[in-house]
Symmetry: C2
Subunit: 468 residues, 2 copies
């Protein structure tokens, strides 16, 4: 007769009984086909209610350990013998040892983002307002392209800020450009040949690589990516940053723009991905018109993100598809949902519509211009100016520092890393080899203080001169 | 000599001059190599300041329309002739005609979500609190696995609610299960053979299909997916819902669970994806222990989402990887960022930690149980009960209605759709053919009112009897 101890029972009694019986079945103490006591007997013997036993039996039945025969009672089911299962010793028990992000005192690579730059009070206010006034909209699942309200706000922003005349339905909103690159690759076809710029972002090749796409690196000259490189590669898709190339800072001039568009138009299936990641912070002159807006033949897919212009951690990016790709996109992907939360889509829509985005950008642009000026002054006015040239590149959140040294770039980086300073050289972005000059370092000033610049310069001077 | 009209100028003068000159260059009025007037002459002739002309020239230079020769002046650049570009008439100008979501008065397919069910006031409060107290955390980019705070909260929830003992580092957070399925497929390999259940979700095959993966449909019996089907298919990966299969409602019993685990363990590279999409709302008994928790050999990847338990529009899902896959995951994907916004990750972490999630689930479970009871009563107590059988399936947010009719399922659906009622039949989920009985309709009651049920029943009666 089944009896179990009820001492030290933690949780409901039925659960305890269920566990005891299950344990006995798994250990073989209760054999397949064996009849279990009736609920009444079992309850009496254990001084619990029949309801408790009923609950325990129900649970065992629903999990398949026990079955009932009408008017006969409860029986132990034939479950696969535990011995047929691999022994528990096959448990692979090494520790999880996740790669840790290195800890730097000064990060000149621009990975950092200061909380001071984020418009917390406006954002919190709008977010609260949206949650109290747009409840139904917030609960309605957005199509893969994103909530209409946000697409309309972005279309209007692009019209007034970038001179782009588009239909909001051409916009696709996604959780970060990395996600959108993959989605776009699925749309254009993973059998296509991709060209990416060198120097440029190695990460692009990794992202496309996840789709089984091998990227080919196209060399650049002072006007940007070279058309003969695209022809050499026999590229179908050119992924480029014509408005402010990273890290060189090149803005592609009009003649090269028309050449690239003509290249795309020579063959069906050729497209240009125009990555416009930081146009908002061009500090001088009018923003350059986009390739998209001078493209008459629907060859350009425009990409932008709010990572740079608002914060990297809100994860909202978008692309603008040429009209003929919109239909193909929805034919292929309408079963997906948008990857961005409605809460943030509606908050961002309000942020743009109310003019807060424009104000924020203007404020940040001014902030970055002042910072740039201040930091260049620090470099020029100090001793360190003997060891370097400052190479301005007109826009964006960085400039280049050419160091007077023979030390290889990797060595300089390593020596600085030992002092907890992260800096990247232009040559880190050289994907072909020989495309980027040595000794040019990228100084992203978006999130560092003058004090940190001074500290960096004094450590750099030590490294270059060998004197502390 | 260049002179331009300044009447009706809208915007800065320099921009107007820049546009005029650019237009003349593009139209050919100004020829390549032609010298432009000096700033001073130009300024005097047009009665504007030299600074204005300087700004216009700078913009033209940065876009490549004009170049300077030191001490000589400004010249029109050689840009590719516009005639070499395709004529504007190649602009494909058909209208964008996006598929519109059909508009239903009653939706029994469960696609709808009522704003009343979302804990707006708690969520708004936590969200505001997070934004005012965790500014630095919010601005720190989360690794691909997600913010540590949320992973820890989920691990603790899984421990107490699902009895799963895991390290938070095993958790990967992503913007929706659709996204995570793709990421997981990239991890396990797109050359693998996938088995999915029939009846089941066709969408799974579409999502995997985007990765070039062809899915194979595995038949089920009353215990769930059949192991001989997995062998027939020669599957590497079985994507299953063992805890509450949709739409049949089957809970896989222990013996079949051990059989499936044994199948997975027979060969390296075999894995089971355990999709536990609605375990929180199992209305009767204790939640079934997960396959993951009885798996001693690291063969199960556990997946869950907050779409069902909180709201479909917040787009937060997660998966739990076996330990040995964690390292592989980070080796492969650490260059990605997490696709979920930090704002929502930290808000959700607080929502779980403070016990609000548990309270919310309990409240909703009770709400759904009452609703289920009420709706079943309505059906049983009315005239319509002569035309159908109610087939309960113990858990989840739906039950089945077997209609006494000879009309094909598609016809019933179509007739209802004409009356603005959406309902799905079990046979809609039959992916092999012949796997699901006819005349079984899925009644998802999560978001409908008793009135809507009554309306549906009376229209159904008309359709079945042919009498209004």
């Amino acid at each position: 007769m089944l009896t179990y101890s009820f001492e030290h029972v933690d949780g409901p009694i039925y659960e305890h009984i269920y566990k005891c019986i299950k344990g006995d079945i798994l250990s073989g103490k209760l054999k397949p086909g064996e009849k279990l006591p009736t609920k009444r007997t079992f309850a009496r013997n254990n001084s619990v209610s029949t309801i408790t036993i009923q609950n325990a039996y129900d649970q065992l039945i629903s999990e398949g350990y026990v079955y009932t025969v009408t008017k006969k009672g409860y029986y132990v089911a034939q479950i696969r013998e535990l011995t047929a299962l691999p022994p528990v010793s096959c448990k692979i028990s090494y520790d999880i040892d996740l790669p840790k992000a290195p800890d730097f005192d000064v990060d000149l690579s621009g990975n950092d983002y200061s909380p001071e730059n984020f418009p917390f009070s406006v954002w919190t206010g709008l977010s609260r307002e949206v949650m109290s006034t747009q409840k139904s909209e917030l609960m309605r699942v957005s199509p893969i392209g994103g909530a209409a309200a946000l697409r309309e706000a972005i279309a209007e922003h692009l019209r007034s800020f970038r001179g782009m005349m588009i239909d909001p339905d051409q916009i696709v909103i996604g959780a970060g450009t990395e996600y959108l690159y993959g989605l776009l690759a699925d749309l254009l076809g993973n059998d296509k040949r991709y060209a990416i710029e060198s120097p440029g972002y190695k990460k692009l090749a990794q992202i496309y690589g996840q789709r089984g796409i091998r990227c080919h690196y196209a060399g650049m000259d002072s006007l940007g990516i070279k058309v003969d490189e695209l022809l050499r590669i026999d590229a179908d898709i050119a992924h480029i940053c014509p408005n402010h190339h990273f890290p060189t800072g090149i803005t592609m001039p009009a003649n090269r723009r028309y050449e690239i568009l003509a290249w795309a138009n020579e063959k069906t299936g050729r497209y240009i991905i125009e990555d416009d990641y930081d146009s908002e912070f061009r500090t001088e002159g009018k923003p350059i018109p986009t390739l998209f807006s001078i493209d008459a033949c629907e060859k350009v897919i425009y990409m932008n993100t709010f990572s740079k212009s608002i914060a990297p951690t809100i994860r909202i990016s978008y692309m603008v598809l040429p009209v003929h790709l919109v239909k193909r996109f929805y034919d292929k992907f309408s079963f997906y949902s948008c990857t961005v939360s409605n809460f943030e889509q509606y908050t961002l829509a309000a942020f743009i519509e109310r003019g807060c985005f424009e104000k924020h950008i203007n404020r940040m642009r001014l902030h970055y211009m002042r910072k740039r000026k201040r930091i260049i002054e620090i470099i020029k006015s100090g001793d360190f100016c003997r060891h370097c040239d400052i190479m301005e590149n007109d826009s964006g959140l960085h400039f280049l520092l050419r160091l007077h040294t023979d030390r290889p770039d990797r060595e300089v980086e390593e020596l600085l890393a030992q002092r907890k300073i992260r800096i990247k050289a232009l040559s880190d972005y050289d994907l072909i080899g020989g495309d980027a000059p040595e000794h040019h370092f990228i100084l992203n000033y978006s999130n560092i203080t003058p004090e940190k610049v001074e500290k960096t310069l004094s450590i750099l001077a030590e490294i270059l001169t060998g004197q502390p």
